[in-house]
Amino acid sequence: MTPVLALRQATKKYGGIPAIENVDFTLMKGEIHALCGENGAGKSTITKVMAGVVNLSSGDMFLDGKVVSFHNPVQALLAGVAMVFQETSLVPTMTVGQNLFLGKEKFINRLRAVYIAAQQLLQSLNFNVDPTQMVSSLGAAQKQMVEIARAVLHDARVIIFDEPTATLTPEEKKYFFDLMRNLKARGVSIIFISHALEEALTISDRITVMRDGKHIVTDETASFDRDRIVQAMVGRDLTTTLYGQKSSLRQPGERVLSVQNLRMGALVRNTSFSVFAGQITGVFGLIGSGRTETFKVVAGVLKRDYKHGGKIIFKDKRVRYRVPAQAVDAGIAYITEDRKVDGFFETMTIARNIYAGLLVKLRGKRHLIRRAEETKEGSKWTQKLNVRAVSGDAKVIELSGGNQQKVVIAKSLIQNPELIIFDEPTRGVDVGAVAEIHEIIRGLADQGLAVVVISSYLPEIMMLSDRILVSRQGRIVEEFTNHNVSEEEIMYASIH
C-alpha cells in the first residue's frame, strides 16, 4: 500500500546545523501516527516541512507516491495537507463561519449562506459549535474543532496536530480523541505530536520516536509501552566531552528560598519547593510545564495570583515583588532564556550593558552615570568571565552567542546576588562556550550562592545539578538527588 505522505532521507539544516537529518517517515491512509521526542528532537521541523512552512535542505517528500515540494502552507493545503498549530490561527474578532471560509469567499459573499454552509459542515463532523459565535468567546477545545473543520473544508487528507491537547481539559481531551477517531473513519490520516505519552499510546496506530533530529524507531503502538518510548527518547550517548564530568555533590546550605503553594493562573499550579545555598538546583521539565513561569514569579518578572496565590519566602522573609528591580534589590538575579529580547541592549557596548546591571541595583541611590566606574567594571567582568570581543568598545550584537550570554551573566553577577536563576543558560550558545558557562555556574555554587539552572536538555541538568526538581503541568512533581538517578527516571517523572 502506498503511503499518503512519506519522507525519504529528509534533512533540514538551519545555518549549517541539521534540525533533522536523513529522516525516513511514512504516513498511511486513515492512520493516526504519533510523533514523540524531547524538546529539540526535530518533531516540529518534520511537520513544518510537510505543511510547507519550511523546505528540505536535501531528501524527498512524497504525496501519494509522487515527489512534491511545498513552498508555502497554501500549496500544502491545496494538496490536502493541513496543520493545526498549538496556538490556533483563527481570527478572534470574526465569527466561526467567517473563519471557516476565510480565503474561500465567493465574489458576492452572503453571510447567511456562509453560516448555512458552516452549519452543515460542523454538523457533518458532529461538532457542537454555533457558526455565528465569535471565535474569541470559544473555549480551547472549540477552537480546535473550528481548526479541524477548516482543514476538512479544504479537503485535507493529512492533518497534523502539534500538541493539540496541551490546553484542553480532561473532558475536552476525551471529546477531542473522539473527533480524531471520527476523522480517521473518514479516511483522513493524522500526525499527532504530544508530550503526554499516555495519549500517544491511547489514540495512535503507530508511533515514531525522534531524538536529536534523527529517526530512532517506528513501530505499531501495540508493541510500545511507556518505558520503551522513554528509553528511545532519551537513549543518547551522554556527551561528556561537551558537558564535562559530573562533579561531586555539594551538601545543602541554608534554605534561601521557600516557595509554598504558589499559583499563577493556569501556568503555575500550587507548586512548592525550596532552594538551598551552596548547591546547584536543576529544574527539568518539558516546554509548557511552568518552570520558567514559576521562577519568573520568584524574580518579580511575573506576579503570582493575589487571591490564594501561595507564599514565597526569601531569606526567611515573605516577599511579593511588584517589579524585578525589587527582587534584584533583595538579592535575586534571573538570567533570561531569551537573551536577545530580555537580556541585553544590543547596540550598547559590553561595558555599558554590564554597568546597566549595577544601575538597577543602585536605583534611587545613584543619579549620575560614572563613566570611569563603567569602564572599570566592564573590564573587570570581561576578564573575569573571559568575554572575547574584538575590542572593549564592541557592541553586544557583534559577539557570538556564548559571549553574549557571558555578558548577560556578568550583568546579573555585578548585582551581587544570593540567589541566581539561569534559564536555559546554554541555549544557542556555541559549543566552546558551553563548558565555560558551566564552569561559571559551578564556581558560583562553590562560592556558596544558591544557584538554579532551568534547562530542557537533560544531559546539562544531569552534569550540573546537585539536586534535580522535575516540573510538570505547572508544579514541581519530583525531587531527585543527583547521585543515582537516571535520565529515564527524570524523563518519566516529567511526563507521567
Binding site: 499516555e198 545543602p252 534554605r255 521557600s258 487571591k307 525531587e479 538527588t481 507521567h496
Partner: protein
C-alpha cells in the same frame, strides 16, 4: 480600625495571617523510609522519653515507670512514680523526672527533692528537661493553660504560653529564661547557646542573653525534643506534619471552637501521634485513583520525622516514616552505642539505626 479591614482583606484573598500554605519536605527533608526500615529495639505501650544516664546506660520512661534498657533490649525497672512521666533527664549523676505533679530528683546529691510549684502555680505541662551549661536545670514548659496530654487543645487555642525556666536545686531559685513561647517542647545546650523548639511556631530558636534569635524556621511539621549529636550539631524530632487543612482550621475560629465543644478530642482535625487506627478519624478514608493507581488524598495527620542538624542548625539529612508508615509521633531521639535511638510515641516503639549507615 484599619486592622479590621486588613484582616477582612487578608481573609478574602487568603494572604497574611489567613494564608494556609505550608513548606514542603524537600532538600535534606526529602522523604525516605529509614524509620520504617530501622531495627526494632524496644516495644512497650506508654513510651514517653529516654536518656543516657551518667554511667552510660539507657534509661527509658514509660507510663509511670522508669526502666534501664540493656543493648540487647532487656529491661529492668528502676522506679515507679505515682503519676505518668512526661520528661526525663540526667542531672548531677542522678535523674530528674517530670510528671503532672512537678519535678522529682532520683539519685545523685538531690535524691528525693521535689519541685511542684513555681510562682504560686502548679508545675504543669513540662515537656523537656536538660542540664544547662551553668549547672542549672533547664525546664521546658509547653503551656500554662493546658495539661501535657491535652497538647492538641493548646494548639487549637493558638497557645503561646510556653516558657523556659532554669532551676538551681542548691539554692532553690527558679528563673524564667524565656516566655510567650508557642509550646516549648525541647531544650538543648551546647557550649555557648541554649536552643529551644517551639512546636506551634514550627521553629527552633536560640537563646542568647535573654534574647531569642531565630535558629531554624519554617519546619514543615511540629518540632519536639532536641538532643546533641556526637560529632557536633543536634538531633531534632518532629512529632506531626503540618497540612493546609490544619492551617485552615487554625484560622477558622468559629469552626474550631464548635469542633472543640461538640466533637470528642480524638476526632478533632488536629495533628496526631498516630492515625489510621479508627475509621471515625477525620478524612482518613479519602483516596483518588490516578493513572490506575489509588493514591491517598486525605491530608496526613501523623508522620514520623527526625532531623540531623549541623552546629549552625542547618538540616543535613533526615529519617522518615511516611504517611502510610508505622512509626509516627517521634518525640525523642538520641545517640547510644554507635546508633541512633528513636522513640515513636505513636507506635510505642524505640527504633535503632546505626549511625554509620545514616550519613548520605
Amino acid at each position: 480600625m484599619f486592622n479590621i479591614f486588613k484582616r477582612a482583606g487578608n481573609r478574602f484573598f487568603g494572604v497574611g495571617e489567613a494564608d494556609t500554605s505550608v513548606p514542603v519536605f524537600d532538600g535534606a527533608l526529602k522523604p525516605n523510609n529509614l524509620l520504617d526500615t530501622a531495627e526494632l529495639f524496644l516495644e512497650q505501650p506508654g513510651l514517653e522519653d529516654m536518656v543516657v544516664d551518667s554511667q552510660g546506660r539507657l534509661v527509658v520512661a514509660s507510663g509511670q515507670e522508669i526502666f534501664q534498657v540493656e543493648s540487647t533490649g532487656i529491661t529492668q525497672q528502676i522506679a515507679v512514680l505515682p503519676n505518668p512521666i512526661q520528661a526525663i533527664a540526667t542531672y548531677d549523676k542522678g535523674l530528674v523526672v517530670a510528671t503532672s505533679e512537678g519535678l522529682t530528683f532520683l539519685g545523685g546529691e538531690f535524691d528525693g527533692k521535689q519541685l511542684s510549684t513555681f510562682d504560686g502555680q502548679p508545675f504543669q505541662c513540662i515537656t523537656a528537661l536538660c542540664e544547662g551549661s551553668d549547672g542549672r536545670l533547664l525546664i521546658a514548659q509547653g503551656s500554662l493553660n493546658s495539661e501535657y496530654e491535652n497538647w492538641a487543645k493548646d494548639l487549637l487555642n493558638l497557645g503561646k504560653s510556653g516558657r523556659l525556666l532554669s532551676f538551681d536545686p542548691k539554692s532553690g531559685l527558679t528563673q524564667v529564661r524565656a516566655q510567650g513561647l508557642a509550646y516549648c517542647y525541647g531544650v538543648c545546650v551546647d557550649a555557648t547557646r541554649t536552643i529551644v523548639s517551639e512546636s506551634w511556631a514550627h521553629r527552633i530558636s536560640i537563646l542568647k542573653d535573654q534574647k531569642i534569635e531565630s535558629g531554624l524556621s519554617h519546619i514543615p511539621g511540629y518540632p519536639s525534643r532536641l538532643s546533641k549529636a556526637s560529632d557536633g550539631g543536634f538531633w531534632l524530632t518532629v512529632f506531626a506534619p503540618r497540612s493546609q487543612l490544619l492551617e485552615f482550621v487554625l484560622r477558622e475560629d468559629a469552626f474550631r471552637s464548635e469542633m472543640m465543644q461538640t466533637v470528642e478530642p480524638k476526632y478533632w482535625i488536629s495533628p496526631a501521634l498516630s492515625s489510621g487506627n479508627d475509621f471515625l478519624e477525620p478524612l482518613q478514608q479519602g483516596g483518588v485513583r490516578q493513572m490506575g493507581v489509588l493514591k491517598p488524598w486525605a491530608p496526613a495527620r501523623s508522620y514520623g520525622l527526625v532531623l540531623r542538624l549541623s552546629p549552625g542548625l542547618v538540616p543535613l539529612y533526615s529519617l522518615h516514616s511516611r504517611v502510610g508508615g508505622l512509626h509516627h509521633g517521634i518525640v525523642s531521639a538520641l545517640e547510644f552505642e554507635g546508633a541512633l535511638l528513636v522513640l515513636s510515641k505513636g507506635s510505642g516503639r524505640i527504633l535503632r539505626a546505626p549511625l554509620a549507615e545514616l550519613k548520605p
